[in-house]
């Protein structure tokens, strides 16, 4: 395995206190190596988003060990966690969450600016949009873009600074089949080109299909962490405790790499 990007051992997270306490994670053990393309699946309430939040340094664990990019999350201050996110982690959200008053390129530039990039940030932002096939739309306002285009801008924003780790929470949930395929394909290319590690939380078989590794969470624990050669997403997803899984049977695109 390559250099470890995420190391979690006995990771737990509880919300609330006393009788109201809810355990979202109950001792997760997980290691993610550099350059992995990993899908985190599981039914609603299984702890996917909580785990993503912890790995993304958005939150601190209740107990257990969590080391992300060499930094022990539980010991970091709020400011240190913000710095880790800024410098080393990219985020892609289900609802895109782009800044509506900025253009596509400004959205990408904004994060580069926060990272302290100077004159080169515009060129970097344009290059990132170009990688995602959006160079022609760089100066469009967000509301002038389709959902698929907005999500690609969000990916450009997350990857423009070439972070070591990219976290995507249900990135294809609001996209149609074609846009979902295009997005997964482009993210796969970014991973190959820049060696970034991608971690998705998803219900979507179209994402699972592209994943190199699938980790299944059930009731706050890792229930399965493997993928059999040739195993289809639908063979993995419905296998979990009879939960109903969303998403249509994917159609195979000849251009989309596996």
């Amino acid at each position: 395995m390559n250099e470890q990007v995420v190391h979690a051992h006995g990771l737990t997270k509880a919300f609330g206190g006393g009788a109201q306490q809810v355990w979202a994670l109950r001792g997760v053990d997980l290691n993610i190596g550099e350059g992995e393309f990993l899908a985190l699946v599981g039914p609603s309430g299984s702890g996917k988003t909580t785990l993503l939040n912890l790995i993304g340094a958005l939150d601190a664990p209740t107990a257990g060990e969590l080391v992300v990019l060499g930094q022990t999350i539980g010991t970091l201050s709020r400011r240190q966690r913000a710095l880790l996110r800024l410098r080393s982690i990219g985020f892609v959200f289900q609802a895109y969450n782009l800044v509506p008053v900025l253009t596509a390129v400004e959205n990408v530039e904004f994060v580069l600016e926060l990272q302290g990039l100077g004159a080169e940030r515009h060129a970097r932002a344009m290059a990132s949009l170009d990688e995602l096939g959006l160079a022609d739309l760089a100066n469009r306002r967000i509301n002038e873009l389709s959902g698929g285009q907005q999500q690609r801008v969000a990916v450009a924003r997350a990857t423009a600074a070439h972070p070591k780790l990219v976290l995507a929470d249900e990135p294809t949930a609001n996209l149609d089949g074609e846009n979902a395929e295009i997005l997964m394909h482009l993210m796969g290319e970014l991973r190959t080109r820049h060696g970034m590690t991608f971690l998705f939380s998803t219900h979507d078989p179209r994402v699972v299909k592209h994943a190199q590794r699938v980790v299944t969470l059930v009731d706050g624990k890792v229930a399965r962490d493997d993928r059999q050669p040739g195993e289809s997403p639908h063979e993995i997803l419905p296998a979990e405790k009879g939960h109903a899984w969303a998403g249509p049977e994917p159609r195979r695109l000849s251009s989309a790499p596996r």
Binding site: A82, F91, F93, Q94, A95, V99, V101, F110, E113
Partner: protein, 411 residues
């Protein structure tokens, strides 16, 4: 603040245009009210300075050693000539006049009244004392006059005196003996205020010296071209007049004025403070609403690594933009209003029945609102300061956004 962040902040104002317009209007109105209040307050100070100075006190008065403590009218300046030379060396001096004073009894027939008899330079006095310019009957003292007297109508009434009547003036001489002299009334002053009219009783200075047996100058009254230079000229004169002679300002001479002005100033500040507080709360409310509306966006920005401090600066920059626009609008409307009030003045004589006496001075109740370059920094300070202060809470609220909300909300 960096470039894209700046664009983010300024464009965010257009998200809810009506709310931004209302906030800008609030800032502008606050700015206009603060400008008028401040101009009015400064104008009122000018009115009191004018009243004090032109009722005989002058903006500055050179007095003999020890006079400040006991106001003993028998004291004389150490070196009047040197004091005059020092005064004339000051560029802002408009008029100078010497005086001597003595407590006197005036008698005509069977009527007697106590007055403060003032020896004056008949040529210089009218330039510094507007009371004596309100001659009701007869004329004012002339340079060549001797044995003549001008008095206020209130004194004339008490004595039953009229023009050309002879009046006996009695004072205490240097050795405690009573000194008398006859004066002929050549003019009667009627200012409109009985109190002011009871204070005018002037004779030529050389007659005063002859009556009291005391030579020399009792005081020198100085009128300036700009009352705001009073303290500056006082400081300059304090080091150049004859050693021992003292320099007093019109405020020192009229402690009642000083107290009244301070009281007015405090109440004006309270009113201005209330106005600004209302503006402040309005802007704070609008900014807080803007931040609450974008809570998810701030959470996402926080998730992307934006620090709390950067978020505070973003919100403050947004507010600052509102403040700049509101301040500019406030100045565009407020400055002509203040200029107009400075030119025409606010005439309160209709409410107060003409001039009135206060603290020994005749106050003309017309306030010329002050207008000057101060309006630009003052309006800017009010608009930007109030907006920034009002935005501190919304800004810190934005900075406290929990980034974990971003992913939860995005689900």
């Amino acid at each position: 603040m960096a470039w894209v962040a700046g664009r983010y902040a300024t464009r965010s104002i257009r998200r809810n245009f009506r709310r931004s317009l209302l906030a800008i209007a609030g800032i502008a109105i606050g700015c206009i009210l603060a400008l008028v209040m401040q101009g009015f307050n400064r104008g009122r100070s000018e009115m009191f300075a004018r009243a004090g100075a032109y009722s005989g006190a002058g903006h500055l008065r050179i007095v003999p050693p020890g006079w400040r403590d006991n106001r003993d009218q028998t004291r004389r300046l150490v070196d009047g000539d040197r004091d005059f030379a020092a005064i004339r060396a000051q560029p802002l001096v408009k008029a100078v006049t010497p005086r001597t004073r003595a407590q006197a009894l005036l008698a005509m027939g069977t009527r007697v009244t106590g007055v403060e008899l003032i020896g004056v330079d008949p040529v210089q006095e009218p330039a510094t004392n507007r009371l004596v310019r309100t001659i009701h009957a007869g004329r004012y003292l002339a340079a060549e006059d001797t044995g003549t007297l001008v008095l206020g109508s209130a004194i004339a009434r008490r004595l039953g005196a009229a023009i050309d009547d002879d009046i006996l003036a009695s004072v205490v001489g240097p050795t405690g003996d009573i000194q008398n002299a006859m004066f002929r009334i050549v003019g009667i002053v009627k200012t409109g205020s009985d109190i002011a009219d009871a204070m005018v009783c002037q004779v030529p200075m050389r007659d005063m010296a002859g009556l009291t047996g005391r030579a020399g100058i009792g005081e020198i009254s100085v009128t300036l071209a700009d009352w705001r230079a009073t303290n500056r000229v006082r400081d300059a004169l304090a080091t150049t007049v004859a050693q021992g002679d003292d320099v007093m300002t019109w405020e020192d001479l009229n402690p009642d004025f000083k107290g009244h002005m301070r009281q007015d100033e405090v109440s004006s500040r309270v009113v201005t403070g209330i106005i600004l507080l209302i503006v402040l709360l309005g802007v704070a409310s609008a900014q807080l609403a803007a931040v609450l509306e974008r809570r998810r966006e701030f959470a996402v920005l926080s998730a992307l690594g934006m620090s709390g401090w950067t978020m505070v600066r973003l919100v403050l920059l947004e507010a600052l933009t509102l403040g700049v626009v509101g301040g500019a609008l406030g100045m565009a409307i407020g400055v002509p209003i203040v200029w107009r009030l400075a030119t025409t003045g606010l005439d309160f004589s209709g409410f107060m029945g003409g001039s009135f006496s206060f603290g020994g001075a005749l106050v003309e109740p017309i306030i010329y609102v002050d207008f000057g370059w101060w309006v630009v920094p003052y309006a800017s300070l009010v608009a930007l300061g109030a907006t920034l202060i009002a935005s501190l809470y919304p800004a810190t609220f934005a900075a406290r956004t929990d980034p974990a909300v971003a992913l939860r909300v995005a689900q």
